[in-house]
Symmetry: C2
Subunit: 215 residues, 2 copies
């Protein structure tokens, strides 16, 4: 598949590299066409890079791996036309670190960033997933033992099915992909980040994830 | 120990019953001295019941098991003098269901209800715990298999130690009691409730809990 990964941070590059290794044609998107980090990544992975708009325009599926506070700006730069009809995987977290730790989760109007994106791009098929763990686990769930899970939610069933297919190709067993239903489920997963960050601080490591043992 | 459990809902009665079974002297506190549910519970458990103030006044340790939106009022009714110097275990969740599902977590000023309680009663030693699971699991962790956890946080180390002692007597192994540090950790656990409620809806059962497998 032709996939645009928007965002050149650790998560974006990690997801891009995994997608390349699975045979996808990846373009790493950033604000400018000459982003040095994007260029370096692209050279190292025989892949492309470009502006948000160029990356999204050429893609069948788009991953939003930008920082949550700049995601709306990045997607506006990508452009409504370039996102229309496409599956958009949103892995971002709207965290405001400006007042130090712990950061605040910025959920407009009690909703979620994913819903805000969906409202702004109604013809794009937003699926929220992977935002409740560190990027190394996203693409290599076997790093952590046990039946830990990945959450997925979205309003478009077919889009969710495309995304769960990708998650399975990352190594997530079907039984550990927890479908939270429609996109309002993103409110739940975005609000988990303060706990995740607290545990990260206590454990001194991001190599953990949530599991959900049941009676 | 002489323990006041404030709140006659399912959580309060469940915690009260467990504490009685462990040999503690429990008084169930409610708004009025003649609350029928409190009277019935007390009769069935050879225990006492009374107003929030009467219950707290006679206790060495107080459990806040009232609904999160009425906790401040309940604790004000209990009275500053009756809470002074005592360990207060806060198991409540500040959830507003007035606009239907999903409820909103009402965290004043980006903080937590537990911190709000601590600020209002500075000489009381607030410990937040047990609010991330259903009440049957609180007092019987063996109901659910696996290494699921209970979080604890608070500003007073000695108070936390009293509370973890109680948790161990409930059946929680030391290794599954996760100390989140000071009371700001309550922001993290209170914000987990939307995910908990979403999972409750999807699983059709509250018999699950969070585990934290690590690499």
């Amino acid at each position: 598949m032709r996939i645009a990964v928007l965002g050149t941070g650790e998560a974006g590059r990690r997801l891009g590299s995994k997608l390349v290794s699975l045979g996808h044609e990846v373009t790493l998107g950033s604000r400018s066409a000459d982003n040095p980090r994007a260029a370096e990544w692209a050279a190292g992975h025989r892949s492309a890079h470009g502006t948000f708009a160029a990356a999204a325009g050429g893609a069948e599926l788009v991953v939003n791996a930008t920082g949550g506070l700049v995601s709306m700006a990045a997607l506006e730069a990508a452009g409504t036309e370039n996102l229309r009809g496409k599956v958009l995987i949103d892995v971002s977290n709207p965290l405001d670190f400006s007042a130090g730790m712990p950061p605040k989760v910025v959920t407009p109007d009690g909703g979620s960033l994913a819903e805000q994106i969906q409202r702004a791009f109604p013809e794009t098929r937003v699926v929220k997933t992977l935002n409740t763990m560190t990027n190394t686990i996203m693409v290599d769930p076997g790093r952590v033992p046990g039946d830990h899970v990945v959450f997925v939610c979205g309003d478009d069933a077919e889009a969710k099915s495309v995304v769960t297919g990708l998650l399975r190709s990352f190594g997530w067993p079907e039984a550990r992909i927890v479908d939270l239903g429609d996109l309002t489920g993103a409110r739940a997963t975005e609000l988990v980040l303060p706990l995740w960050l607290r545990l990260f601080g206590i454990f001194g490591s991001a190599d953990f994830n949530f599991a959900l043992p049941r009676a």
